[in-house]
Structure formats: C-alpha cells, structure tokens
Amino acid sequence: MLYREAGQFKTTYAADQQLFPIRQDRIGMAILLAAVFVGVPLAAATPAIAGAIDFNYWFSGVLIPFLIFSLAALGLNILTGYAGQLSLGTAAFMAVGAFAAYNFELRVPGIPMLASFILAGVVAALIGIVFGLPSLRIKGFYLAVATLAAQFFVVWALTKFGWFSNYSSSGVITAQKLAVFGYAVDTPVKRYLLVLAIVSVMALAAKNMVRSSIGRAWMAVRDMDVAAEVVGIPMMKTKLLAFAISSFYCGVAGALYAFAYLGTVEPAGFELELSFRILFMIIVGGVGSILGSFLGAAFIVLLPIFMDLSAASIERSFGFALPAGLVSNLTLILFGALIIFFLVVEPLGLARLWQIAKEKLRLWPFPH
C-alpha cells in the first residue's frame, strides 16, 4: 500500500528506457534530492533548528564522510560487485586521487579545482589500469593479492618520494583552500553541497553505466568469465575498463577525502584498514547495487558513532567509566559478526532487504 503503479503504461521506447519507470519513484527521488540539496542547508540556516542540533558537527563529522565513502564504495562496487574482480586496494586509489589533486593544484597555476579533481580521477584510473593488468591472467584470490600489491606499493611510494608531498616531513599534505569557479567553499554547509553535487552526478552516471552495454558486459564477466569470452565480450577491454572507472571513482573520492573532509592527509592514512572498511560497506550494503553503496556507507559510518554515543550514555546513566578500548573492541567484534551475519543471511545486503520490504509493502495488505 506504499503506492500503486497500476495504470502507468509505457508507450514509447524512451519511456521504457528511463531510469525510474514508475512515477512515484520519480517523485520520491525528486523529494529526496530536494530534501538533501535544499532542505538540509535550509534547516541548518534556520536558527531554531540550528540551535537544537550541532550542524557543523553533523556536516563535517557525519554527512560529508558518509557521502565521500559512498563514492568510494560505489567505485569498489563497480569493480567487485559488477565486474566481479575482488579488490583490496581501494584506499591506495583514494590516496592516488588525493595526492594527484594536491599536486595539480600545487604545480599547475590557475587550474580550476573541479578540473584538478577530474584529473586526479584520471591519474587514479591510469594507476588502476596498471594494477588491473594482472587480472587478464589471474583471478579470485590471486587477483586480491595483486591489488594488495597496489595497496602497499602506492603507500610506500607516496611516503618515500618527497616530490608527491612537496617534500613535507613524512608525506603529510595540507590540501589547498577549496574554491569552485572563484567562489570560496569555506563553511561546512558549502562543502557539503559541493560533495553532494559531485556524488549525485557520479552516482547518476554509475546508475546509467551499469545498465548500458558496458555494465552488462561487466556482469557477464562476473558471472562466468569464460562464458563471457565465448560469446564475444572482449575480456581485456571490459576488465581494464572496470578497473579504470572504479579507480576513477575512488580517486575522486580520495581527492574529496583530502580537500573537503580532512584537509590534512598523509599516506599512512590510506592503509589497508581503510580498504577493508570500504569492502565492508559494499558487503553490508549490497554487492552489485548502487543503492547498496550508499546504505553500506551510511551503516559503517554511523555504527562507530552510535557505539560511542551509547557508551557515553551508559556511562552517564550508570555513573561509571567503561574501560578504555572496550568500545573500540566491541565495535571490532560487531563489525566482524555483522559481516558474517550478512554473508550468511542476506548476501545481497541492505539493498536487498530494502527491495524485499518495498515488494512486501507494494502488495500489503493483500499479498496475492
């Protein structure tokens, strides 16, 4: 009873091919976009609401990292979820993006910020192609190890060669001031809007990409690469394109991570731990789903915050201090248990649960 799509007929090819064929979905998406683009900043600007909630914290501590991790998860999902190539090197490609954007800003005078973000993505894509080359010959765990090589090599190279970080000690870089078309993006709200705009455009592109011929080729390779090759899908082009586009997304996410979220990053911040977190996002959210990337990122970003908050409230209401490290270890245990839980119970993650719920609600209360 959520809504009924009865009476909506597709009479043209264009109608058949549109992104959201059901009118209510289109309206829902429009409302969602209006809410996040207009509603949230407006609420933050309203003194009555802004007084009750600490919007600066919410923007820079929750929403911006959520959006950036969504973008990185989207990138990994293209590679692992759609093209079926397991990657443990996501953080490395993010690092490439972050340092590339920094260097473009530093060394090319007057380059627009968005251009340097795009170029950072392109550089990450090139590195992605290099480390994707082994995928033509090996697959499965062997490929996972190849991507681990990317992870360690990139972090090592960025630390060792001072040129990348403009010879700062231990490779720490401080991102330049964020500005778009000469307009300074200096408050959390503005940063949020910029990140949101970039993520929205790239998510839309990804959504369209995975239902085009290249997306179908990726899925064919994922489901059985030998069969895909037999029916004439060019293996080299398909796999390398998956690596390139995935790395492009991760690279842009990395640039945003440095410029819009942290401000100061070092190569050691892009450790394997971060790659695993992004892998967890797509497992929890849904492997092979655009929506799942967002749901998983939200879940993994919010879970530690929720754990900290509940620990703080337990401490306050019972009046004793929890031992140091307890919460972080419990979070670790919970992460591990959740991964296993999702793989066992719902391998397609939160996105699949959402789909089931929607299906149930569509027919409720008459399920036949």
């Binding site: 397991l86 082994p134 010959r137 090996i138 499965g140 765990f141 062997y142 996972a144 190890v145 190849a146 681990l148 090589a149 360690f152 090599f153 972090v155 090592w156 630390t159 060792k160 060669f161 059985m224 690469d225 030998v226 069969a227 037999v230 394997l272 695993f276 892998l279 497992i283 490290g325 307890l326 270890n329 419990l330 979070t331 670790l332 245990i333 919970l334 992460f335 591990g336 248990a337 959740l338 991964i339 296993i340 793989l343 066992v344 391998p347």
Partner: protein, 297 residues
Amino acid sequence: MQFFFEVLIGGLLAGVMYSLVALGFVLVYKASGVFNFAQGAMVFFAALTTVGFISMGAPFWLAVALALLAMVALAFFTERMVLRPLVNQPQITLFMATIGLAFFIEGVAQLTWGAQVHALDLGIADEPIAWLMDNTGMNISKFDLVASGIAAALVAVLAIFFNKTRTGRALRAVADDHQAALAVGISLQRIWVIVWVVAGFVALVTGLLWGARNGVQFALTFLALKALPVLILGGFESIAGAIVGGLIVGASEKLAEVYIGPHVGGGIESWFPYVLALAFLLVRPEGLFGERRIDRV
C-alpha cells in the same frame, strides 16, 4: 660475499617463520577450499591467550594447553557459525567471511586480554651463535635456528599425520574430492573441525615463536598479509610449496632490502614480496606446486 651469505641465511631463517603462517593457510585451503584470512588473527589470539594465562600465574605448559583448548573451541565455533551456513557458496564469499572472522577474533582477543604489548620468553636466547661467529664471522641468531628446527619438526609431524593416520587420510580425501569423500562415509563437518583445530595448533606454534621474537602484539595479525605472497609463490594447495615459498620470500626480501633498497629509498620490504609474487604469477598462475586450474563453461 660473506655478507651476502649472512643476509641470505638470515632471510631464509625469517622465511621459515613465514612458511609457518602459510602452512596454516594451506591446511585449511586444502581441506575446505576456504582461503582463511583469519589465520593471522588466530596467531595473535593463540599467542595472546598463552601470555594471558602465564601472566595469571599458570606454568608454561598449562598455558599452552589452555591456549590449545581455546583454539579447539574456536574451531568448533567457526565450523558451526561460519562454514556450515556458508557451505556451497562461492569461494570469494567464504574469503570475505573470514575477513569478518578475523575482525571478530581480534576484537575478542583484545577484549579478553587487553591490547598492550606482552613479552614472551621461551627460554631461547636471541643472540648470535658464538661458534659460527668465531669461525666464519657470520652473525646467525640462535633463536632463528631453533625456530627453524621447530618448524621442521612441525612439518614432519604434519606429514606423518597426513600420510599415516586414518584421520589424515580422510583429510586428504576431502581435499581431493568433497563428493567422493562424502560417498565413502567421511563426515565433512568433522573433518572441517579437525582441520581448523590443526590450523589452530599451527597458529599457536607460530604465535609462540613470533611472539617470543617481536613481542605479543596486534602487529602479529599482519602476518597473514606476509603469508599471501608466500602462498602465491608456492601454490595454495601444497605444503611443500608453503615451505619453499616462505624461504624464497624471506631470502629475496632481505636481499632486495640490502641490495636494491638503498637505490630507491629503502623500506621496500613492505611491498617487494607482492611484486615478486605478481611477476611470478604472470609466468605461472598456479604457483610452483599448485594444481593447474582448468576453466570450463
């Protein structure tokens, strides 16, 4: 030249330690087709449990026995909670499940025993052997030599177990063909528990040796990552491959650090084994001793 041999032997001995970790992987992979990413976490857990019991006042042998008991419990838990529900799933799914398992074990271990670094004393001094030092001038640690001896003994015991006992033969049967093993009446679930117990035992030995060397600390979990290039070089299915791969990785990473490292800024140990393994994969995708995979539609 003498310096070369010193580095080479030091690397080979370090490689033995890598082989031990890789051995745990191979055992589990052979019997259940699971690429067990949690092996490093198991090493950490086993060593931490031993040290924890020792710090509670238990004698060394009792602490080791209790730690072994904990590994057995872990094996039962893993079989029941992870492997059984995921039977017949793609290997990648199982692999990701073991990443989750690794996080779970790390959390439990630190929650139970605390996160600080513990020292572990096995009573073997980590000092150069005086005789070798005097006669050849080479600096070879006594501890490394004893550790390799223990590793060799462990491999011998495992070889006997796999070749001469009934259970060991059942394990090999499962490794060869799950269906056929089931048909002749081998219980897969029992075999999985046994193989995880054996992997836990190997993890315990590894944890004690590495822990005595570097201190029992969280960094032990990263051993799993060191074992990956070893596995690639040696092949996932071969115990001999794990040993040879470990030796190659140990020796080559030390030699590369000494001879190539200074030219590119040093610290290449972190990624050199991976690149070596990668280069190797391009020539021989199934590793030195692995089984050639045949793809069918």
